[in-house]
């Protein structure tokens, strides 16, 4: 009871009042990655009964109890389990065999078939390698074969049998027992030890009913199939768990977490073509590319996942020089709502290839992306802090400086009450270039702190350590684009900052190479914007009161930074022609609207469907 209590990380404190072992408001944890089964060993009825009540396994020495003893004790165990409201199958039976026992295969098969034994442990001397080899190579497969023949089909399953207390935490409406066999082993339910680590995302608290964790493309397809049977529940698609607009966790629904598909492979060294699994994090991508002298612009935070960012845009520190992340995409493999796996590129499934770059989450689960990455030597990396008592004046000056700044430099600005923090990357390892491009920024306002270093792109992506995902509540975030920082935009922003309704006001610069691409080339259309604003607060109504005036001086939004689900926001994200085209494709690929966790595009009505 003490052990189980300490594993229960859903509580803040645990107590257990026993005669021999006690806990009093102890801190439970650490959270386990998987349930660690507790096996009891003993040949008397008291232990068998205790195992039946509490344990996950029971071990006994066959020599000590004999077959009859085993049968009796098994029965005691079964009764104790049923009396405790458990399924007798929750307790795995394990017997320890003497060395001679391994010779009689039919007796061993009988142990499995007649006595429900599912773990056989052979006692061998430390030098007895031959016995061990035969046991492994010949005896074990023969037992398996014999047992499979004798038992009804499917009776031997690797599907975990959950304890009654874990089953009690299941949520309604989910066919837990029908989770496909290949997903059952890695799936996480609310009663599982690993649930604490997967329930929430970086910024959002969640309580899903089932998290499926496929490890292969085929398993993703099977997970999508399972989700199709649960259209009545919310479905979240998760890669890195840094969604803001994307509800990659939910309450009582399903999550398909493709974090395990995180391979990074160079396909063509000369062409700098790299294949990246949707579950990789950008910090890992940066690390993998660095030895080649390459980088792929992503965002400002290395913990963000590839899947969510590369289906939406990717406004990063190299954007002005090298464009958005999606601008580097050459092909993407996706599992569609009907479970088929398709490849979309400039020559195959071209409409999907267009849609995947900006609205990908609506059309399927991306499993791998192929990017042409950039040659990026070490970069200049600056962190400057300013006194900014007049935010409007600071913003306007910032806007003017950016307009004259060459593409090599991509600054991100965080503006607060009285202070401005500027992070900027210069795609150059030449100190002269770095300093000359940063100097105008340094002159905007009195500097209070400055640090400029020459570092690999990967070092910037790995600046912050990985932290646990235990978001609580819902993020409140607003987004807007603007071509320039007009006096109206600046003064509305200053009011917003002074109001205290927002604790985070950040401008990422775009333009440059981002604007080299035609607006209709991808579902991300905001090519003419030079500034992407992201604002976060804690109270949506209060934030909106101050953000609406800013929005009036801006146009469009980057969906990844917008948490509002108002239908108007869809129109801000996608201009009419784009939205039309997306809706037609949605009607074709996901007519029942399975994928709706992120800026949901409703399928076009039937009469427009023929237009695709």
């Amino acid at each position: 009871m003490v052990i189980r209590a300490l594993q229960d990380t859903t509580r803040d404190q645990v107590s257990s009042a026993g005669t021999h072992h006690r806990l009093a408001d102890a801190e439970p944890g650490p959270a386990l990655e998987r349930d660690v089964p507790l096996w009891l060993q003993g040949s008397d009825t008291a232990v068998a009964a205790l195992a039946g009540r509490l344990a996950d396994g029971w071990m006994v020495d066959l020599e000590e109890v004999g077959l009859e003893g085993l049968a009796t004790l098994n029965e005691v165990l079964d009764h104790a389990a049923t009396d405790a409201g458990r399924d007798a199958r929750e307790v795995r039976r394990s017997v320890t065999l003497a060395r001679g026992d391994a010779a009689d295969i039919s007796a061993l098969v009988a142990l499995v078939v007649d006595h429900g034994v599912s773990s056989l442990v052979l006692r061998v001397g430390t030098d007895d390698v031959t016995t061990l080899r035969t046991f492994l190579d010949d005896v074990a497969p023969a037992i398996r074969e014999g047992a499979e023949r004798a038992l009804p089909q499917g009776a031997l399953s690797s599907r975990p049998v959950r304890r009654a207390d874990a089953r009690a935490r299941r949520r309604p409406g989910i066919a837990y027992n029908e989770v496909p066999e290949e997903l059952a082993g890695t799936a996480v339910e609310p009663g599982d030890a690993a649930f604490g680590k997967v329930r929430s995302t970086y910024l959002r608290g969640g309580d899903p009913g089932l998290v499926l964790r496929p490890r292969t493309v085929a398993e993703v397809a099977s997970a999508v199939g399972f989700a199709r049977e649960h259209m009545h529940l919310p479905l979240g698609i998760r890669s890195g768990g840094h969604g803001i607009s994307g509800r990659s966790t939910n309450d009582g629904g399903l999550v398909i977490d493709v974090g395990g598909l995180d391979d990074i492979t160079v396909l063509d060294e000369a062409a700098r073509l790299v294949r990246i699994g949707a579950g990789a994090r950008w910090r890992d991508v940066a690390r993998a590319l660095q030895p080649h002298g390459w980088a792929l612009s992503s965002g400002d935070y290395g913990g963000v996942g590839v899947g969510g960012l590369a289906t939406a845009g990717g406004i990063g520190f190299l954007s002005r020089k090298h464009g958005l992340t999606i601008d580097h995409l050459r092909a993407v493999d996706m599992v569609l709502a009907d479970g088929t796996v398709v490849r979309a590129s400039a020559t195959e499934n071209t409409e999907l290839f267009w849609a995947a770059r900006g609205a990908g989450a609506n059309f399927g689960v991306a499993v791998a992306f192929e990017f042409v990455v950039d040659e990026v030597d070490e970069v200049g990396w600056a962190q400057l802090a300013f006194q900014a008592p007049d935010p409007a004046a600071y913003l306007e000056a910032f806007g003017r400086v950016v307009a004259d700044t060459p593409r090599e430099t991509t600054p991100f600005l965080i503006l607060g009450q009285g202070v401005a923090q500027l992070m900027a990357m210069v795609d150059s390892s030449d100190p002269g270039v770095i300093v000359s491009q940063l100097q105008p920024f340094a002159e905007i306002a009195p500097l209070v702190q400055q640090q400029v270093v020459i570092a690999p792109y990967a070092a910037v992506m790995n600046m912050f350590p990985e932290t646990a995902h235990n978001g609580r509540g819902e993020p409140v975030s607003r987004s807007a684009f603007t071509r320039e920082i007009t006096p109206g935009f600046a003064s509305a922003s200053a009011d917003l900052i002074r109001s205290g309704a927002s604790h985070w006001y950040q401008i990422r610069t775009v333009g440059g190479a981002v604007a080299d691409i035609a607006p209709d080339a991808t579902a991300y259309t905001h090519r003419d914007a030079n500034f992407a604003l992201a604002v976060m607060g804690s109270n949506a109504q209060r934030l909106d009161r101050w953000f609406e005036p800013v929005r009036r001086h801006a146009s469009g939004l980057y969906l990844s930074f917008e948490s509002d689900r108002h239908p108007d926001r869809i129109a801000d994200a996608f201009p009419p022609a784009t939205l039309d085209r997306l809706r037609r494709l949605k009607a074709k690929l996901d007519p029942h609207n399975l994928f709706q966790d992120n800026f949901n595009i409703l399928p076009a009505h039937d009469h427009t469907r023929s237009a695709t």
Binding site: H21, D25, A26, E27, P30
Partner: protein, 320 residues
């Protein structure tokens, strides 16, 4: 990290009586046993090992869920490192039964080729200890228990003695326990201690003393006073003061300009630590560090410089 004691101001100008127990100097780190990211503490041990430090140590707070279990962490880190010695800093006795602890330490010392030391304390944070089902001990009781534990631990390790081990104490009652295994090397029992009564225990029974600078209420000069408790008690027990190695857990940051004790360039650190070594007989400096660069600079630039300064001073007969 630094405590802001006034110790920085009186280094260098000391006319006080100085002590030097003549030990070679040891340098190590004090790493947070955080379990997130899961391998961080182990990686920091590897960093310390590769940097050439003598010692890596971890706190032991078995009632804190965000920490690894320190005994398990020590085993894992020992397997990942090659030459560095490892120790808890310090083992929480009330949650670790001494006879089993002795065997665990011996096992790990054998497996690691003689690289394990036993930092141990009487216990603290009694709510946490009691919460986990451990005993709640008063100050006197906890020292008494520690003394019994040390007897048991030494008894288990002492395979030279024939016959079973019995230690009949107020807190631990060991009757007829089998002895052994003996560790691969003479494992040091280093006690974290501050008050006179436990300092006297250190003098009687321990191989090392392991205080942290931040708990010295009067700053570094307090070390002299504490040393004298240990020394007197050692003499009374028929031991030599130099039988007890004096460690010090320290904290600091490197900076271009000196801002205080261990807040400055490596050369400043070296002078300050050499001064501590020569004044208070401290011969083991354990730096709180979860930072690769901090650890590496400490190993590469501070440790050799302190050794040199101390050797020079000893060579010129600075200690008497």
């Amino acid at each position: 990290m630094n405590t802001g004691t006034n110790s920085g101001t009186n280094t260098g100008a000391s006319t006080d009586v100085t002590i030097d127990y003549g030990h070679d100097l040891l340098f190590g780190t004090f790493v947070t046993p955080t379990n997130h990211p899961v391998h961080q503490a182990v990686e920091q041990a590897v960093v310390a090992d590769r940097a050439g430090l003598d010692l890596v140590t971890f706190q032991d707070h078995p009632y804190v869920a965000r920490f690894h279990d320190t005994s398990t962490l020590l085993a894992y880190a020992a397997a990942r490192t090659e030459r560095i010695h490892l120790s808890a800093n310090v083992t929480n006795l009330p949650l670790r039964p001494p006879a089993v602890l002795a065997r665990a330490i011996a096992t790990l010392d054998l497996l690691s080729g003689g690289r394990i030391e036993l930092g141990i304390g009487a216990g603290a944070f009694w709510d946490g200890v009691a919460g986990m089902g451990g005993p709640r001990r008063g100050p006197g009781e906890s020292i008494e228990a520690l003394e019994e534990a040390i007897a048991i631990i030494r008894g288990v390790w002492n395979t030279g003695e024939s016959g079973a081990l019995s230690v009949r104490g107020q807190h631990y009652d060991v009757r007829g326990a089998k002895r052994g295994p003996a560790p691969a090397h003479p494992v040091g029992i280093w006690v974290g201690a501050y008050k006179p009564r436990i300092l006297r225990l250190v003098g009687r029974a321990a191989d090392g003393w392991l205080p942290s600078i931040q708990y010295l209420q009067k700053g570094l000069p307090e070390l002299a006073e504490m040393n004298s408790h240990i020394d007197e008690s050692a003499h009374a027990a028929g031991r030599e003061p130099r039988d007890i190695r004096r460690f010090l857990n320290i904290g600091g940051q490197f900076a271009a300009q000196g801002r205080g004790f261990l807040q400055g360039p490596p050369s400043q650190w070296a002078e300050e630590l050499a001064e501590v070594a020569l004044t208070y007989g401290t011969s083991g400096f354990i730096l709180a560090s979860d930072d690769t660069a901090l650890t590496q600079t400490f190993a590469a630039e501070v440790a050799p410089a302190v050794r040199e300064l101390v050797a020079d001073a000893r060579g010129t007969g600075r200690h008497e």
